[in-house]
């Protein structure tokens, strides 16, 4: 049901709104580290806002402003990177399974992922934490590994109907490349679903990074990282809400902005096909 066309000015205002929501945290994340002054002396934990610390202090007495400025980069890079990596691998994987013309190919592709799914991620994270002292890269890898089966399964399910349709058959007959068939065509068909899923999943990735940090994987537990901040400062929520609220709001703004933009883009796309 395509509603009545929206007034262009309203649409522009709306898109601007979404861009600001997405852009503010991103700019803060990418440029913040240059503005922050992490060497500030510490004061007591969860101190209320003062002229020294405009947003108060966090659970170990650091200035929240600095932490916020410092903490976006890992979130964006590790969380976002992990989600993107999971998609880069998971989507073609799911497409392959959906487009498999023989059931066993499908099974061979999907069942191992089920095994991955059935191993509690807590254990995986704990093990990684126990075995090595992994850096952000390993962490990103683990997070995307945890998300991979879900992405693959959802892509497969979304693509299943289109994968056996006449358009796919026609492409097969015209010798179309694997890439175009499975990724461009099938991927295009399921793009709305995947975009929506991605918009939510990226948030999941951020918090997965945070809980991994909590278990001792990847970033340090007192790291300046928005998701970690939310996690670590929550005991002080009622003492000094800013240490939780500000990073949480930034993450929220980022995901809301991203999702609104996705929605808008998908709407335009639907109008044109």
């Amino acid at each position: 049901m395509t509603g009545a066309p929206e007034h262009p000015r309203r649409r522009r205002a709306f898109v601007l709104c979404a861009v600001v929501l997405l852009g503010l945290p991103l700019i803060c994340a990418l440029l913040g580290p240059w503005l922050a002054d992490p060497a500030d002396p510490r004061s007591g934990a969860y101190a209320p806002p003062s002229s020294d610390a405009l947003l108060g202090t966090d659970f170990v007495g650091r200035d929240v402003v600095d932490q916020v400025l410092l903490g976006g980069r890992t979130v964006v890079l590790v969380g976002g990177g992990a989600a993107v990596a999971a998609y880069i691998v998971g989507v073609p994987w799911g497409m392959c399974a959906a487009a498999a013309r023989r059931r066993w190919v499908d099974e061979v592709l999907m069942r191992p992922l089920d095994i991955l799914l059935s191993v509690p991620s807590l254990l995986t994270l704990l093990l990684i934490a126990g075995l090595s002292r992994p850096g952000p890269l390993v962490l990103g890898g683990v997070v995307s590994l945890i998300m991979l089966p879900e992405v693959a399964r959802i892509s497969r399910a979304a693509a299943l109907a289109a994968a056996s349709g006449p358009a796919m058959e026609a492409m097969l007959l015209t010798g179309e490349s694997w890439w175009r068939r499975n990724f461009r065509y099938l991927g295009g068909t399921v793009l709305p679903t995947l975009a929506t899923d991605f918009g939510m999943r990226i948030v999941g990735a951020l918090y997965l990074v945070a809980s991994a940090a909590f278990l001792g994987v990847g970033v340090a537990p007192d790291a300046a990282d928005w998701a970690v901040m939310v996690d670590r400062n929550r005991p002080g929520l009622f003492l000094q809400p800013w240490a939780v609220l500000v990073p949480a709001l930034l993450v929220t703004a980022m995901s809301v902005g991203l999702n609104l933009l996705f929605d808008q883009a998908l709407h335009r796309r639907r109008e044109t096909t």
Binding site: L173, T174, G188
Partner: protein, 561 residues
């Protein structure tokens, strides 16, 4: 009777424009109860666009002018017709059937919805619903024993899907029926039955808008005829007046071309045997030039002298273990430079046969050999060369195209992929092939959604031709094409046959196509070939009753087998 005087639908000066042009330009007509108005015109003339306007549906981002009133209420994109009073039989039935819903429940749902509102117990209602569904199925020539109820739409043949959609419209008990090419994909027998059904509906007091190329059907049922040409209304009057004494040149051409098919005898076959010295040589040269790409020269006849496509003892079935046989022991031979027309009633297994040949149906037994080499049952296992050599034109052209890429792009691709052509050259050639069939480049640059049914069908054929195949399997390529466009298509294929030595298998319900193209004709029934022989013989002196029924020249005369 006031109802006859007050139109149910009234369209005044309807104009629908998209960015660069007007699709419908000044359409005005009335629909009355009990009358059938036929909208005819060449493919792409705006019939579907005009008819959809009655429902308040317009192409995306179109500009609309004029008024449409249904039941006295103005209709627009913002306020479309409330669901109910207007039933619509869409041009592409496959798309209209929800892929995940079984046939039966949907039919029952529609019937239940439109049951007379009397106070009834649940059981009585159920009985009534069942009866209504059975009757609707009977009316469109489908078994009413519930054998189709548990099927999904994709488990029906093209013609069966078409009829299910008509059954939907029958059950909807609307006051207005808009039927967009309701007889495409139906064999001669069914075509007549469906036509008669439409007439009965009108006689029962419904207003019918019939969109059709099939002038036989139009003659048989229409009270009034409106002729469209490139969105403009060129003639509007009673059926006898318009078709009997056509005044506009277009109408005349259409009627003439239509008559031509019945008139043109089977000697087309003999004509083809003669070479380029005939008067048609000039036209052939054009067509040949259009279709010969830079990457394929004239065939080397010595290397291609082997036998072509040989099918022996081919059987196919659906549904794995709980199988239903769709083909039984079919044997065929299709030599280079000749063509075979496969005819048969709807659901007799024609499409299945075609899909077996091109490698889209894996549940098969028997052998398919091309030039002595066996072809695997799955196209996925065929080499690029093999893929290039055997091409297929899908029965449902629209579904076989990617909705998100431009049609031209898709038509050009096979040459790039299968014949290693340069993308630019491939596109040029695609443009030429399409132009030869009457589809402009500007149209082809759009996405499939913005093309008319006939344009899509020609695009699908062009795509297959672009691969430069040795064997071409065409599934109802002319269904939904007006006589003029059809002739263009047939000319092109004819040239390919003669010039390139193409082996052509056409599946068709149209006598004209068989007469024009076929060297031999095979008649299928329930998955078997029941009659086979030279085209002239089967067309002129059919012995098998089914052959006679399917290929009879006159719609009215087609006897039920």
């Amino acid at each position: 009777m006031t109802s006859k005087l007050v139109p149910v639908v009234s369209v005044v000066d309807l104009r629908v424009g998209v960015a660069d042009r007007l699709l419908v330009d000044g359409l005005s007509f009335d629909l009355h109860r009990g009358r059938v108005l036929a909208l005819v015109g060449p493919s792409g003339s705006g019939k579907t666009t005009g008819a959809a306007a009655i429902l308040g549906e317009f192409p995306a981002r179109s500009v609309v002018g004029g008024t449409v009133t249904v039941d006295g209420k103005a209709v627009s994109a913002r306020e479309p017709v409330p669901p109910g009073p207007v039933a619509y039989v869409p041009q592409h039935p496959a798309g209209a059937l929800a892929p995940a819903l079984r046939i039966g429940p949907v039919l029952r749902e529609i019937a239940r919805r439109h049951l007379p509102a009397a106070e009834l117990g649940r059981r009585e209602r159920r009985v009534l619903v069942r009866a209504a569904v059975a009757s609707a199925l009977r009316q469109v020539g489908l078994p009413d024993d519930g054998s189709l109820h548990r099927r999904f739409p994709h488990q029906l043949s093209g013609g069966q899907q078409q009829r299910i959609v008509i059954a939907h419209a029958l059950l909807a008990r609307a006051r207005v029926v808009v039927a967009d090419e309701p007889t495409t994909g139906l064999d001669a027998v069914l075509r007549r039955e469906v036509a008669d059904r439409i007439r009965v509906l009108a006689d029962d007091g419904m207003a019918v808008l019939l969109l059709s190329h099939d002038l036989d059907v139009v003659r048989r049922v229409a009270d009034d005829v409106l002729v469209l040409d490139r969105g403009r209304q060129v003639e509007y009057g009673t059926a006898e007046a318009v078709l009997g004494r056509p005044s506009a040149p277009l109408t005349r051409a259409l009627v003439a071309a239509d008559c031509g098919r019945a008139a043109r005898p089977a000697e087309a076959v003999t004509v083809r045997a003669a070479d380029a010295a005939t008067p048609r040589a000039a036209a052939d040269a054009v067509a040949a030039q259009a279709t010969e790409g830079p990457y394929g020269g004239l065939p080397d006849s010595s290397s291609r002298s082997v036998d072509g496509l040989v099918v022996s003892e081919l059987s196919a079935w659906y549904g794995g273990r709980r199988r239903a046989d769709a083909l039984s022991d079919v044997s065929l031979r299709l030599t280079r430079g000749t063509s075979l027309a496969v005819v048969g009633r709807s659901g007799s297994g024609k499409t299945t046969l075609a899909r077996c040949l091109v490698g889209l149906h894996r549940d098969q037994r028997g052998s398919v050999c091309l030039d002595g080499q066996p072809l695997t049952a799955s196209a996925a296992d065929r080499s690029r060369g093999e893929l290039a050599r055997v091409q297929y034109v899908f029965q449902d052209a629209r579904a076989s195209l990617d909705p998100r890429r431009s049609v031209l792009d898709q038509v050009a691709r096979p040459a790039v992929r299968l014949r290693d052509a340069d993308p630019r050259a491939a596109e040029d050639r695609a443009v030429r092939i399409l132009a030869a069939m009457g589809v402009d480049e500007a149209i082809a640059r759009r996405r499939p959604r913005a093309l008319s049914g006939g344009e899509l069908r020609r695009a699908a054929l062009a795509r297959a031709l672009a691969a430069d195949p040795d064997v071409l399997v065409c599934d109802e390529i002319t269904a939904g094409l007006d006589p003029l466009a059809r002739d263009a298509v047939l000319d092109l294929l004819d040239t390919q046959l003669r010039v390139r030595g193409l082996a052509l298998l056409v599946i068709t319900h149209e006598r004209a196509v068989a007469a024009r193209l076929a060297d031999r004709i095979a008649v299928m029934d329930s998955g078997r070939i029941v009659d086979e022989g030279p085209a002239a013989e089967l067309l002129d002196r059919p012995t098998h009753p089914l052959t006679a029924a399917l290929l009879s020249a006159d719609l009215a005369a087609a006897p039920a087998p």
